[in-house]
């Protein structure tokens, strides 16, 4: 069938028409063979223009359409749909941006802008010649999710998804649910926290949509959004399940500060967690408590702020004071980090008589005493001298640290981790609970140290992201993916290394030859593999070498 190309140029009122000589562009493009129609619109996107476009496709038997207008980000889907409604495959449409790329950026050089616009339109035609019909990639989504980690964020994701009607597999490596939060005995300001957490755990156990795997870990994972095959290992037993989505909620550990401030050597030096776990009677024994914040954190080897420790210190200090108002409690800190209205608890602590003093990292506090600490000495910047505080207990506020397993987990799920070994989300600002890989989500302290409230909020957020494809049941992707021509592939693997989505992998050909294969669901069409391929074996649909060369030829 003869290629019949229709070209439509939009004036966008004065936005394009005020700078670019549109009739001139049309005249130029009419000279190209196979262009059977070239016309202009005042606003190509208006309802009546779209109807006209559809009529033109039918009456002129157009089998390729080029629209030169504004940005594809906003308008390409509109014109593609319009072509489809006129019976033309949506991949036979080509969009050219002559507003941002010509009229706006060259507003003061009208003649040159017109020349450039004509060139861009010619290139669009050059590509349109070689466009091929394709269909969107369509995948079915298994309506079940795997949640890895049974702490507060994992529990939240699991319950939320189960209550939305999805099947949930919750995998926890320890023998109980609740994570780090369940290790705390006292809660503040919500003193009912431990009871509420137990209630959540019970809700999980009672929910018929949730299967819990305790003392279990993930041995293997393959597949993609919609159908991940995950192998769960419990001792010698293995179980394979297929899930549509995966939420990583493996949390963080609490640093044991061996070698710092006499921890492990002096009998009365302990961590906030250890203090929290003491019996009420033991707690009451201490009359002079000094807490030191930022222990092992905001230092060269661990430069980050763990965000939760100030509040935990304040919580424990309040509990000392409330159980024993005569006790002296002192918090030595570098900055008190309590965001938002949590400031109220900081104030409350001060009102209870808890002392807050800043120490500097240049001269950190020292603990004096034999066998046990009896004095904490620190340099007080404001007083300009060393100050000694008598103590019978020293409590160290230590940060949350990345789990040891994060590296192996990252390899297993092919997702990135940061230099601090926390998981790295797709975009820090706007995609905080997603990975670049579709179908795998992240929440809680596995991503970055967060308190219980934020862990729960993130648990919900990750559940929303996982629920989206599962509610839809079937997801469509634009078919501008890469694929490999096996004849020309040398199996060098350069493409595998550069793919940011882990979409490329080896496959064995029969005659004992390795080639690569692109997972059409994981591929996002970025083109990295295409440019890395030395043999021209890798080509991207809609942006193939011969299509691009044809565009360049139109300019020659």
């Amino acid at each position: 069938m003869k290629t019949r190309i229709g070209v439509f140029v939009c004036r966008c009122g004065n936005n394009i028409g005020g700078v670019i000589d549109v009739p001139n562009v049309l005249e130029d493009v009419r000279s190209i063979s196979n262009v059977v129609l070239a016309e202009e619109f005042m606003y190509a996107c208006s309802e009546d223009s779209l109807s006209t476009l559809k009529e033109r496709i039918k009456e002129h038997g157009l089998n390729r359409v080029v629209v030169a207008a504004c940005t594809p980000r906003t308008h390409e889907p509109l014109f593609k749909r319009c072509c489809e409604e006129a019976g033309l495959n949506r991949y036979l449409f080509e969009f050219v941006n002559i507003r941002e790329q010509c009229a706006w950026i060259h507003a003061h050089e009208k003649a040159k802008a017109t020349k450039k616009a004509a060139g861009l339109v010619r290139m669009g035609v050059g590509k349109a010649f070689l466009l091929k019909p394709r269909e969107d990639i369509e995948i079915d989504i298994t309506p079940s999710a795997m949640i890895i980690g049974g702490g507060v964020s994992g529990i939240t994701s699991a319950l939320n998804l189960a209550r939305q009607g999805f099947e949930v597999h919750l995998v926890e490596r320890s023998d109980h649910l609740g994570g780090v939060a369940s290790d705390f005995k006292t809660w503040f300001p919500d003193r009912e926290g431990d009871r509420k957490l137990s209630h959540l755990v019970r809700s999980i156990e009672c929910d018929e949509n949730i299967t819990v795997y305790l003392s279990s870990k993930i041995k293997d994972c393959s597949g993609n959004l919609g159908a991940f095959t995950v192998v769960i290992q419990d001792g010698d037993k293995e179980r394979t399940v297929v899930v549509g989505t995966i939420v990583i909620a493996t949390g963080a550990g609490v640093l044991k500060p061996h070698g710092l401030y006499g921890y492990g050597e002096l009998s009365n030096v302990m961590t906030q967690m250890e203090y929290d776990n003491l019996s009420k009677r033991r707690k009451e024994k201490y009359k002079k408590v000094v807490m030191i914040n930022c222990v092992g954190t905001r230092v060269t080897e661990r430069p980050y702020c763990s965000q939760v420790c100030c509040m935990i210190a304040i919580k424990n200090a309040i509990s000392v004071k409330e159980s024993n108002p005569q006790a002296a409690v002192h918090i030595l800190h570098r900055d008190i980090l309590v965001y938002g209205t949590a400031e109220e608890y900081y104030r409350y602590a001060m009102e209870l008589g808890i002392g807050f003093s800043r120490y500097t990292i240049e001269a950190p506090p020292q603990i004096l005493g034999e066998g046990s600490g009896d004095t904490v000495r620190y340099y007080d910047e404001t007083a300009g001298k060393d100050i000694d505080i008598s103590c019978d207990l020293v409590v160290l506020s230590t940060p949350l640290v990345a789990q040891e397993e994060n590296e192996s987990m990252a390899k297993l799920f092919k997702v990135p981790i940061s230099e601090e070994r926390f998981f790295l989300e797709a975009h820090q600002k706007l995609r905080p609970v997603e990975f670049a890989t579709d179908g795998i989500y992240i929440c809680g302290s596995a991503r970055w140290p967060v308190d219980i409230r934020e862990s729960i909020a993130q648990g919900y957020a990750a559940a929303a992201k996982a629920a989206i494809p599962m509610h839809r049941g079937r997801v469509f992707f634009e078919a501008i993916t890469a694929s490999c021509d096996e004849k020309n592939c040398s199996g060098c693997g350069s493409c595998i290394e550069v793919c940011p989505y882990n979409a490329v992998d080896y496959k064995d050909l029969e005659e004992d030859r390795k080639v690569v294969e692109v997972n059409q669901v994981k591929c996002k069409g970025c083109g990295c593999c295409v440019s890395a391929c030395k043999n021209g074996a890798m080509q991207q649909h809609g942006f193939s070498d011969y299509q691009l060369l044809s565009m360049i030829e139109m300019m020659a």
């Binding site: 209205t341 949590a342 648990g459 989206i468």
Partner: protein, 450 residues
């Protein structure tokens, strides 16, 4: 439990569905994200925004910490996704005035202000704007420059449709002009439009009404409005923005000169028992960002940040502070200045403060002071007409169980996310936005199974 099929999960609207739409109040990044997530799940969403474009505060920011991503560049695609989404109906220039009824069956009354433009016809070409003779302070640019009476809130506005400001339009106030009507080729001007009250039936309501800066002129000691070149952080954002009124030049209002000595003051009205007790949560970081931007723009500029506690707990925040200090030479000075005076000779602001490291009272003259104000819940939503939703002592929407039910307000079926319920930064608000979407989906599924 059975799985509920959401009505619009793949194709066009299924208007016969038993599941009613969700109403989201506030078209900032939080409301946008909640709308997108719910719409992607297959639910019909109304996104109600009181100004003429969605985008909210984030649209006014130049860059965002700690990645220094251009704010509009990352926000704009989301705004466009909202406009394009077949499950989202945008109601701009509109305000929710009343919520009645029961969870799963609310009646929400919405006031739609007259735009005097037929938004179905307007193409956003802007021809009318150039012809409009009236100039009005431009609120999007913090009144640093002017806009016309017929205007787009900002160039990337969504919907990209103009509105006429009835307080200033010559025809609407004085009965003459109609210049816009003559030039509009799309015939979109419609002076006959009236205010409309519409009632929508809704499954659930989500508040995402955000914040506004506290009026720093209430802190007399800092002389805002009286001393030249004492500005607010929001004004600074517009000045340093390449798309702002000065094209990204940090020009002083007094003489259009670029400052050499720049100071930021934290906690202006925050953590202050006379004003707002709470910490506004974002100022340490955005002041650091603003200082970095100034240093990137101008080699000779020095930037000092006066702070109370340096609160930088979020992901990669500490390394951002270190970069500001070590690579950009930003100084951090602990202390809350007592007052700002004006130099009699130069007219420059003089900051009076105690240096807590030397315990000395000091004075330092600078060329420009940026006040980082307390951020307070947006007035618009406080729903004075709606006594059923509780507000806390600071005006934030009350979340009775903050830890375990982080989006549930005092009323079933009504949720809140983002800054309107507690001070927070953009990533936290985006988390909350998605989280609230999950909570709404759960609410609808459990309610419809029962």
């Amino acid at each position: 439990m059975k799985k509920i099929d959401f009505p619009n999960k793949n194709t066009a609207h299924n208007i016969n569905s038993a599941i009613k739409p969700i109403i989201i109040i506030g078209g900032g990044i939080t409301g946008i994200q909640t709308a997108l997530d719910l719409a992607d799940m297959g639910l019909h969403v109304y996104l109600v925004e009181r100004s003429s474009s969605i985008g909210g505060r984030m649209a006014q920011l130049d860059k965002t910490f700690p990645t220094n991503d251009c704010s509009m560049c990352i926000l704009s695609p989301k705004m466009i996704d909202c406009a394009r989404h077949e499950n989202i109906t945008l109601l701009v220039y509109s305000e929710v005035v009343e919520i009645k009824g029961d969870p799963g069956n609310f009646t929400v009354k919405i006031r739609q202000k007259p735009k005097y433009i037929d938004h179905l016809k307007c193409t956003g070409c802007g021809d009318c704007i150039s012809k409009c003779p009236v100039k009005v302070p431009n609120e999007f640019n913090m009144s640093i420059d002017t806009r016309k009476a017929i205007y787009l809130r900002f160039p990337q506005a969504v919907p990209k449709k103009v509105v006429i400001d009835s307080d200033h339009c010559l025809f609407l106030t004085k009965g003459r002009c109609r210049a816009c009507e003559k030039v509009c080729q799309a015939k979109a001007i419609d002076f006959a439009q009236m205010e409309k009250l519409v009632e929508l039936n809704a499954e659930a309501v989500v508040f995402a009404t955000g914040f506004e800066p506290y009026d720093v002129s209430k802190l007399k000691e800092y002389g805002y409005g009286e001393i030249d070149n004492v500005i607010t952080a929001m004004e600074y954002e517009r000045l340093i923005s390449a798309s702002g009124p000065t094209g990204g030049e940090l020009m002083r209002r007094s003489d259009n000169e670029i400052p050499n000595r720049l100071a930021f003051i934290q906690c202006v009205g925050s953590r202050d028992i006379r004003h707002k007790l709470y910490c506004s949560s974002v100022c340490c970081m955005y002041a650091t960002k603003e200082a970095i931007l100034a240093r990137e723009h101008y080699d000779n500029l020095s930037a000092t940040i006066f702070y109370t506690d340096l609160r930088a707990g979020g992901k990669k925040f500490q390394s951002y502070i270190s970069r500001a200090r070590d690579e950009y030479g930003v100084s951090y000075l602990r202390g809350r200045p007592g007052r700002i005076e004006q130099s009699e000779e130069s007219g420059n602001p003089i900051i009076v403060y105690e240096d807590t490291t030397t315990r000395e009272l000091k004075k330092t003259e600078v060329d420009m002071v940026v006040l980082c104000p307390a951020l307070v819940p947006s007035e618009a939503h406080s729903m004075k007409n709606n006594p059923d939703i509780e507000i806390d002592e600071y005006g934030f929407i009350k979340i009775p169980d903050r830890i375990f039910s982080p989006f549930d307000t005092s009323r079933d079926g009504i949720y809140a996310c983002g800054f309107c319920q507690a001070p927070q930064d953009i990533p936290t608000a985006v988390v909350q936005a998605s989280g609230a979407a999950a909570r709404v989906a759960e609410f609808i599924c459990t309610a419809n199974v029962r």
